[in-house]
């Protein structure tokens, strides 16, 4: 899996608690992304980063924040977890190949909010 790890791989947490998911890459890619995957929805972009300290919102960013203090790490925080945030979360990375950006995905984190 292209030098991308996610931690934890599984987590169960209670409603209202903060949760942080970590994505770590060893590829030195500039772009990093957080997606969530839910049945019937495919992957939806939560936040993305185009460099250290440079981040922006995706289509489903409400309730989530991110930080990127180093090239290799991209953190996703659920500020106060809700049951609607139960999902599988994927991190991805990409780098320019000419004008194309293929993405490489981590193994995912399964989060359950009870």
């Amino acid at each position: 899996d292209a030098g991308i790890t996610q931690s934890p791989r599984h987590k169960v947490t209670e409603t209202g608690t903060p949760v942080t998911l970590r994505c770590h890459q060893t590829e030195n890619h500039r772009y990093m992304y957080w997606y969530r995957q839910d049945p019937g929805h495919g992957l939806r972009l939560i936040h993305y980063s185009y460099g250290v300290k440079d981040t922006d919102k995706g289509e489903v960013s409400d309730g989530y924040s991110v930080s990127r203090s180093k090239t290799e790490d991209f953190l996703l925080t659920l500020e106060s977890a809700t049951s609607s945030q139960t999902s599988v979360y994927f991190c991805a990375i990409s780098e320019s190949q000419g004008s194309s950006y293929e993405q490489y995905f981590g193994p995912g984190t399964r989060l359950t909010v009870t």
Binding site: S99, E102, G108
Partner: protein
């Protein structure tokens, strides 16, 4: 909102048969990519076709792109049990992708 929509949602075929799935999208793109996801795993990039290309091949995969109809198709020839997976199209604008909901392909032995 998602850019791409795959059709069909699910497909069951016999080993050795071909599998075809389609993707429609709504806005301009730089390129279109197809990914595969095995159960419980992350997505794996299969093939990319640029907006100025009409057809591309990679091994048993054939992808077509019709920008006038805003549609793409993925053909997997001579399917194998190992091709059982979900397949997603993703439209690219710059470095961001928008994924469809996927087609689940089951290859029966």
């Amino acid at each position: 909102s998602q850019q791409g929509e795959e059709d069909p949602q699910a497909l069951s075929i016999q080993e050795g048969e071909n599998a075809t799935m389609n993707c429609s999208y709504k806005t301009s793109i730089n390129n279109l990519q197809w990914y595969r996801q095995n159960s419980g795993r992350g997505l794996v990039h299969l093939i990319l076709i640029r907006s100025n290309e009409r057809e591309k091949h990679s091994g048993r995969l054939r992808v077509t792109l019709d920008t006038s109809k805003k549609s793409s198709s993925l053909l997997i020839t001579a399917s194998r049990a190992a091709d059982t997976a979900s397949y997603f199209c993703a439209t690219a604008l710059g470095y961001k992708l928008s994924f469809g909901a996927g087609t689940t392909v089951t290859v029966r032995a």
